[in-house]
Symmetry: C2
Subunit: 131 residues, 2 copies
């Protein structure tokens, strides 16, 4: 154990760590994203999910545009300290929408008979999420 | 949709994709690993989890040493086609052991009061798993 818990995390060559967001209660896996050190620190401080957007190259306060904020109940890491697992409540819509496509979960494409099939409904038109 | 489902996957610069293994029934997240194209193809063909070991630089037939094979019930990908989610049954021990530390899940370290606390028991001594 190091004095500062965040020093135990093993960041990749880009200074990032993969993050899984799992919904409290349903235990559905809502999304997968990345964090840098600052994002993980902010997540722990604020009790809400803060990721690092690789596309935009900056912190991404989940819900900052969509309103689909994630409250964080627990933070776990794995045996190698190089993956983070968040237990979250997905706010901003009922049922919760974590995906930018307007679906509950980002993992809505299932392999069936050699094809990816969309298995979850769009709960809200993305055009109405991102104004 | 491409003709071959595997062509839809977006591999990273190393030709890999992150993979989450979630236990069918409990919905526990057991582990996180990586696959290359061959590993994902084999996983789909065999119905058992085949990862790519970055440390060893080769295919890793989960359970090949430990006997802790994972049967794969479904394969999903996310909205960006760059993460894979497996629904698995963890074989080889009751309750299932996915982690090389002898625990059910690799995500046994939970942040509590500013420290990582081990929250799951060791179900089998790793020295007896890897002979």
């Amino acid at each position: 154990m190091t004095e500062n818990w965040i020093d135990a995390i093993k960041w990749d060559a880009q200074g990032l760590v993969p993050v899984i967001a799992q919904e409290k209660g349903s235990q559905d896996i809502l999304m997968f994203a990345w964090m840098n050190r600052e994002a993980l620190q902010k997540t722990a401080e604020l009790g809400r999910a803060v990721y690092f957007s690789r596309a935009r190259g900056k912190l991404w306060f989940k819900g900052e545009e969509s309103g689909h904020v994630q409250t964080v109940h627990s933070i776990r890491t794995d045996c190698d300290n190089d993956v983070v697992l968040l237990e979250v409540t997905q706010l901003g819509h009922e049922p919760g929408i974590a995906c930018h496509t307007g679906r509950h979960s980002c993992f809505f494409q299932k392999l069936e008979n050699g094809q990816w099939q969309a298995t979850e409904p769009v709960l809200k038109n993305p055009e109405h999420i991102y104004k």
